[in-house]
């Protein structure tokens, strides 16, 4: 075996496969590449991929000789992954080519359908550790890529035309409009005119469409004055050139379009590998094994009907509410509730859709169709039918005032010149509209938020779009989910220190703690479960002392378990400061040692909560769990109000709605599917995710679980963003006043516009980028303190 050790049989199998195909370079790129292969590989798992209807839904193109298909591989995480996935053709000759997109975590595979089936391709991927994420929705293709391309075409054309027009305008400026050479001036002007046409009709089309849409909805968005400025600039320039009066403002005009397009592109860059629009269909399997006349057949989940008998194997998800008919069910509802402890079910029990079977195969009778299940019903709520009102192209409330002020200035100028010198009406009014372009205003928001979006991303808060920053800044109420959000999904860490316990003693402690419902007792009991069986021991006495501990008599041994004070007045106290709990053990009057249960709450959550309270945020906690941890949570929040347990997904949604009816701006932090409704209803829904490969419900942002502790700093940064925008607005208004002072006098020359326009745009872009990066230093400081205190 070449003296190589493997963590598990799965990894060894992968190595053997790679070695056989001379692909061991894979192991050279990273120190310990690869994903821990899941080991047991259920062959029947992908049987549904033999179904012609499902195949047709998944593949993008198929002919006799090749089939194209794309998969999402959430496990892709390093350069070795890319290497392995792009060399699939060496492992399996049926695969013609595979191309990965690392950022989208996608692989595009071309294979020969005569040599290998789709199911085999997926099984190969799953075998080497990259189980594709196959969704029911895959049939709908996403048109996003072609849209981005169009944006780039627009920018490219605008950039080309703008820079050439600028070059050709230089002679005009340097000669102060007196080019001696006959015909040269006109040549430059006409060249500029023809170069500006593609900008007006192609590149700027998006701005005109947006302005037109805004007007039709009777909403004066900022694209309206922008479109007007472009039209006036181009119109007046064309008039001057055609009538031979001058060179026009075409360099400024095309510059506006170019800068605006860049700003938009910068702001709209999003995170490709994250999906913010998932509904339950993303979680649910595509196919299921149905038992019909004693034969197992694979059908798509959508065809599942009431009364069907289905087989669910180990690690498979129950696709619809069903009754357990046969087998031992151990259902893991972590997808639904975030609670990771599996629940045992008896024959005849109802198992909700979304639960995952852990153990042997079970047989179920479907009682409701997949779309009518308890958990999926949430999506029938109206909230999922309307789209959240966050516009992708940013519209600031101030834009209305800006537009109104601009028209006021233009009209006043016109009226003034009508009395003084009517020949100056047209030049001055058009100059006002040209120079008071909302360009710099728009650039300040797009670049501030665009840059902040990236900085948030670096701090592992991934926002759906820049509009979310604006909503984040307005938040005044924060709702937390418990499991998976303020607590970690894994079990608490437990270790024992003291005299070594014998198996007999362990069994006694286990029995005693098993009597208590206290979360700490339960944790110790769980921790000991793998040790000794308690069979044969009798419990003679048991009493629990709230907040102190328990005493019991087991098999004649007096057991005292609890805080230091409770056990034997040792100086050691039960510490519950956020780092963990110390549980001391006394057997027959002899002090044995203590268990340390380290906190399963997220690091820094107490700091974050205190900080948020100081900043006058209203905090709530909604948990789907029972109230076993009520005391700890109340201590954490230092409040008894606003902490609710036993909340159904619908309850959570309703609570958020109620808060919003009180005019509160609600931020929801949650993970499981049971938070999906609340995340959707809230003003900003942030899904908490511990691994980038983990799937999160529909939301406005995704945050890495480790960053919950700095949520206060992130919110503070969002509020800072507003101030930066305000500061840059002030600067852009200064520029506008300078420009307008020329314009109203009717003395705005093309050269002034040509200098003012790029200077204002560039200086504002630099200012906001600098400020937003500077303020982010506070954010990274918070993260650093966080890791130091941890």
């Amino acid at each position: 075996m070449d003296n190589i050790s493997f963590c598990c049989e799965g990894c060894k199998q992968v190595y053997l496969l790679l070695n056989e195909n001379n692909l061991c370079v894979y192991y050279n790129f990273e120190k310990a590449p690869g994903i821990k292969a899941k080991g047991k590989f259920v062959t029947g798992k992908f049987a549904y991929l033999d179904d012609a209807e499902i195949i047709q839904k998944l593949v993008q193109f198929t002919s006799d000789t090749q089939t194209n298909v794309s998969f999402q591989l959430p496990q892709m995480h390093c350069s070795s992954c890319v290497f392995l996935l792009e060399n699939l053709h060496q492992i399996e000759p049926g695969i013609i080519k595979s191309i990965t997109n690392f950022q989208r975590k996608e692989v595009f595979i071309i294979f020969d359908p005569l040599k290998i089936s789709l199911r085999k391709v997926v099984e190969l991927l799953a075998f080497i550790g990259y189980e594709p994420f196959i969704r029911l929705q895959d049939s709908f293709e996403k048109p996003t890529i072609s849209f981005n391309k169009k944006e780039l075409y627009h920018i490219g054309v605008a950039g080309f035309c703008f820079s050439n027009i600028m070059m050709l305008s230089f002679p005009e400026y340097f000669s102060a409009g007196n080019i001696e050479q006959a015909g040269l001036k006109a040549t430059f002007a006409w060249l500029n005119l023809s170069l500006s046409l593609p900008v007006l009709f192609f590149s700027a089309s998006g701005i005109f469409i947006s302005a037109w849409k805004g007007m039709r909805q009777k909403f004066l968005n900022i694209d309206v004055p922008l479109a007007l400025a472009i039209l006036v600039t181009f119109g007046r320039s064309y008039y001057e050139i055609i009538s031979g009066q001058g060179a026009g403002w075409l360099d400024s005009g095309t510059g506006i379009v170019f800068f605006m397009l860049i700003g938009r592109w910068f702001q709209n860059k999003t995170y490709d590998s994250f999906s913010f629009d998932r509904d339950y269909k993303s979680y649910f399997p595509l196919g299921v094994t149905k038992l019909m006349n004693g034969k197992e057949i694979n059908i798509p989940v959508t065809q599942l009907a009431k009364g069907d008998c289905i087989i669910i194997r180990n690690e498979e998800m129950v696709p619809a509410d069903a009754i357990l008919d046969q087998g031992e069910a151990n259902v893991d509802y972590s997808f639904v509730s975030g609670e990771s402890k599996p629940v045992a079910k008896k024959t005849g029990d109802l198992i909700y859709a979304g639960g995952k079977q852990c153990g042997s195969s079970i047989r179920l009778l479907v009682v409701k169709e997949a779309s009518q299940s308890y958990i999926t019903q949430l999506w029938n709520n109206d909230i999922f039918k309307r789209k959240k009102n966050i516009a992708t192209s940013f519209i600031h409330p101030w834009s209305k005032y800006f537009t109104a002020a601009l028209f006021l200035v233009a009209i006043t100028t016109g009226i003034y010149w009508a009395f003084v010198d009517s020949s100056k009406i047209l030049p001055s009014v058009t100059a006002v509209l040209i120079v008071a372009c909302p360009c710099s205003l728009l650039l300040s928001t797009t670049f501030t938020y665009g840059n902040m979006l990236r900085i948030f991303g670096k701090n592992k808060l991934y926002l759906k779009n820049a509009g979310v920053i604006e909503s984040l800044a307005k938040i005044n109420t924060i709702v937390f989910d418990k499991t998976g959000t303020i607590t970690q999904n894994e079990f608490a860490k437990v270790f024992y220190e003291g005299t070594t316990l014998t198996n007999y003693e362990i069994a006694i402690i286990k029995l005693a703690t098993g009597q208590s419902a206290h979360p700490l007792s339960r944790t110790i009991n769980n921790f000991l479960s793998s040790y000794h069986s308690t069979v044969g021991l009798t419990l003679e006495y048991f009493k629990e002392y709230a907040g102190k501990g328990l005493s019991a008599v087991v098999d004649g041994v007096i057991v005292k378990i609890g805080s230091g004070n409770f056990v034997n007045q040792l100086s050691c106290q039960t510490i519950f400061d956020g780092s963990g709990a110390y549980i001391h053990i006394l057997l027959d009057g002899v002090y044995k040692g203590f268990f340390v249960i380290s906190n399963q709450y997220r690091e820094g959550i107490n700091i974050a909560i205190n900080n948020l309270k100081e900043n006058k945020y209203e905090l709530l906690m909604l948990s789907g769990d029972n109230d076993a941890e009520k005391k700890i949570i109340e201590k954490l929040f230092a409040s008894k109000n606003n902490i609710l347990f036993n909340q159904s997904p619908q309850d959570k949604l309703n609570t958020i709605k109620k808060l919003q009816d009180q005019n509160k701006k609600v931020l929801m932090l949650g993970d499981g599917l049971n938070d999906a409704g609340a995340l959707m209803q809230s003003d900003v829904g942030i899904a908490v995710s511990d691994h980038s490969a983990q799937f999160s419900p529909a939301c406005d942002a995704i945050i890495d679980g480790s960053k919950i502790g700095v949520i206060h700093a992130l919110l503070a940064y969002a509020r800072t963003g507003k101030k930066i925008v305000a500061a840059s607005f002030a600067l852009s208004i200064v520029y506008n006043i300078i420009g307008l002072s020329f314009a109203v006098k009717g003395t705005l020359s093309p050269i002034v516009a040509a200098i003012l326009m790029p200077t204002s745009s560039i200086s504002i872009v630099l200012l906001v980028t600098f400020l937003s990066s500077l303020c982010a230093r506070g954010l990274s400081k918070a993260s650093k303190n966080e890791s130091l205190s941890a």
């Binding site: 056989e20 195909n21 001379n22 692909l23 370079v25 790129f29 350069s79 890319v82 290497f83 792009e86 060399n87 060496q90 492992i91 399996e92 000759p93 990965t100 997109n101 690392f102 950022q103 989208r104 890529i145 981005n148 391309k149 780039l152 075409y153 490219g156 054309v157 080309f160 820079s163 050439n164 070059m167 050709l168 050479q181 040269l184 040549t187 060249l191």
Partner: protein
């Protein structure tokens, strides 16, 4: 003077060729994935010989 007219024409042609190159690269999908190619370049061709050398392993024999 006519030299100036020719030069202007040439300058626009040169700039235009860059524009065309840009549009072609967008169309060609070079901006769709701006990260994976940087990883791909790290792979040297050590794995390639399996393609050309006649292999004894049945998995690789395509025909």
């Amino acid at each position: 003077m006519s030299a100036l007219f020719i030069l202007i024409g040439i300058s626009i042609l040169v700039a235009g060729s860059f524009l065309i190159a840009f549009l072609w690269s967008v169309r060609n999908g070079q901006y769709e994935d701006d990260y994976t190619p940087s990883i791909r370049i790290l792979f040297d061709n050590t794995a390639e010989p399996t393609k050309t050398e006649p292999s004894t392993k049945p998995l690789i024999q395509t025909k």
